[in-house]
């Protein structure tokens, strides 16, 4: 059943740009790309937060890092996606590994705070990079070059590239969740002490999970830089991390499609409300609040009540 739904959704997504043109919905192709990019970013956070149980409040920094890699390279004349996108992944992954190595030595709220602190540090570094726009941000001359006869400046082409990457990402998450690593990480979330008692070096697994999530976030950042043709330190500000968290929570913590559903829900909600009023944040905020209070199971049904211990 879920299989059929997923395939249907994929088919619809694939068909979308084709039907958008005749229906005059070209604008929404770009919007859909944006949703999918955030779905990727939220899914990478879902791996850390949902599956891994690590409340990282600084995830936007890794997205931003990936975006800045693309932006900086573009400013320096390197426009090839084959160089900048993998580099975005590597840089974000290494940053996440460094942040995780220190943060994972703490627990509970201290972990949340320290991930937040590191993200803020990266934010201020981005603001300080006057050569690359500082607070104003940096415009990208063009979208990354992919070669292969594809021009990413065409919204439809970019859409398909993003769709392909998102599908690959979600499939990877699916495999990972069912593989040994995924099990271990979920079990650590469930009962870390017992995992140590069985003989798993839990710190190591959490760190790998954290770094992986950061790396994929970097890829989302690279795509985001392309989508907006612009990078700016606000990408790394803590409220962005908050938004990503909201998406994961809305969509379903630890559910495969949690990041996707959450991104769709939040961004569509914002778009719908903005069409009616400039005070759209009020509408979005109220709905979010209502969901937390009255629909504690979230969209994919995987909230957890606080355990008794």
């Amino acid at each position: 059943m879920r299989r059929a739904l997923s395939l249907a959704a994929l088919a619809a997504a694939a068909a979308f740009p084709l039907v958008a043109q005749p229906l005059g919905w070209e604008f929404y192709v770009g919007f859909a790309s944006r949703i999918m990019i955030y779905a990727l970013a939220a899914s990478s956070l879902n791996l850390i937060l949902g599956y891994g149980g690590m409340l990282s409040f600084g995830h936007a920094a890794f997205v931003g890092a990936g975006a800045y890699v693309v932006g900086i390279l573009m400013a320096e004349g390197v426009a090839s996606a084959w160089v900048s996108w993998p580099l975005a992944i590597v840089v974000a992954g290494l940053l996440a590994a460094a942040v995780g190595a220190i943060s994972l030595r703490t627990r509970g709220v201290y972990f949340i705070m320290i991930t937040l602190a590191f993200a803020q540090m990266l934010y201020y570094i981005a603001v300080g990079m006057k050569a690359y726009g500082g607070e104003e941000g940096l415009n990208l001359a063009t979208r990354s070059g992919v070669g292969l006869g594809l021009n990413l400046k065409d919204d439809a082409t970019f859409y398909y590239v993003v769709l392909a990457i998102l599908v690959a990402g979600l499939y990877g998450l699916h495999r990972l969740a069912n593989a040994r690593f995924g099990r271990v990480v979920e079990a650590i979330r469930e009962n870390e002490t017992r995992m140590e008692a069985i003989g798993f070096p839990t710190y190591r697994y959490k760190l790998v999970c954290f770094a992986l999530g950061g790396a994929v976030a970097g890829l989302a950042g690279a795509l985001l830089a392309n989508q907006n043709s612009y990078v700016n330190p606000n990408l790394l500000y803590w409220t962005q991390s908050g938004s990503l968290m909201i998406m994961v929570i809305l969509g379903g913590v630890g559910a495969l499609y949690g990041g996707l559903l959450g991104a769709v829900a939040l961004l569509v909600l914002e778009e719908v409300f903005s069409a009616y009023t400039i005070h759209w944040q009020l509408g979005v905020g109220t709905i979010l609040l209502a969901i937390v209070l009255f629909a504690p199971q979230g969209l994919a049904g995987l909230f957890a009540r606080r355990p008794d211990a």
């Binding site: 495999r175 990972l176 069912n178 593989a179 040994r180 690593f181 995924g182 099990r183 271990v184 079990a187 469930e190 009962n191 002490t193 017992r194 995992m195 140590e196 008692a197 069985i198 003989g199 798993f200 070096p201 839990t202 697994y205 790998v208």
Partner: protein, 250 residues
């Protein structure tokens, strides 16, 4: 006399002004069931923490299989062959009973930094887990989430998970806690059955079980071991009777 599999040598631990464990020396011989008894507050829990590596002692050393593990972390001791079950049930509540045991089997059978191949494809892993579940009497309950099992079943699963790591020494922390007479009987039979494969250090309050199962008993009172010996010796020991069994008789 061969080196005991677990040797505790003059171990002490204090918390602030309270001495929880006071120069405790004891040895657990390979293949035996060694019971540790003592009134509440005697320091048994602290001693368990010291043995598993959750806390470090202020003085003394802990030797496992001849190696000095005093400074070693919990998971390192597990890798050396120490396993424990918990007094307050500590399982993976949302995982099925089978998955609980399978995780423990997974821990000792190869690296889990595997990101692609589904675990479900690993027949051997699940066969072993299934067999273990059968041994602890949970054969028909493998797909039940651990959190939904009856209390006695959870305690049995606790032991099953600990056994799955194929330990040399199994530290059972009040396995019979909260069990009714039938469940206790099953647990006693289980512990007796595993004796051939693994050495057992049993911490228990249930005197009936202790005297039926134990090869040797150590008595802990106010943080000190006041007697170690075979069940008959302990039963006859005046000091033990006064300090501990005396309370029961009274």
């Amino acid at each position: 006399m061969p080196e005991p599999i677990l040797r505790v040598d003059g171990v002490s631990k204090r918390f602030g002004g309270v001495v929880a464990v006071d120069t405790v020396t004891l040895g657990v011989r390979a293949g035996e069931i060694h019971a540790l008894i003592g009134p509440n507050g005697a320091g048994k829990t602290t001693l368990v923490h010291l043995l598993s590596g959750a806390t470090a002692p202020d003085a003394g050393r802990v030797f496992f299989g001849g190696a000095d593990v005093t400074a070693r972390a919990f998971h390192e001791r597990v890798a050396l062959g120490l396993a424990r079950s918990y007094q307050v049930t500590s399982l993976f509540r949302r995982f099925s009973a089978l998955d609980n045991v399978a995780l423990a089997v997974q821990a000792r059978s190869g690296s889990s930094l595997a990101f692609w191949r589904p675990v479900a494809a690993e027949r051997a892993l699940f066969d072993e887990a299934r067999a273990l579940l059968g041994e602890v009497g949970l054969a028909g309950r493998e797909s039940v989430p651990a959190g939904h099992l009856a209390h006695g079943e959870q305690r049995s699963l606790e032991v099953g998970v600990a056994l799955a790591t194929r330990p040399r020494l199994l530290l059972l922390d009040e396995p019979m806690a909260g069990m009714g007479p039938d469940e206790s009987e099953r647990m006693i039979a289980l512990i007796d059955a595993v004796k051939s494969r693994v050495t057992v250090l049993l911490i228990e309050h249930d005197m009936d079980a202790v005297f039926r199962l134990a090869d040797r008993i150590s008595v802990l009172v106010n943080g000190r071991v006041i007697a170690t010996g075979q069940p008959d010796e302990i039963r006859a020991n005046a000091e033990v009777k006064r300090a501990y069994l005396g309370e029961e008789a009274a």
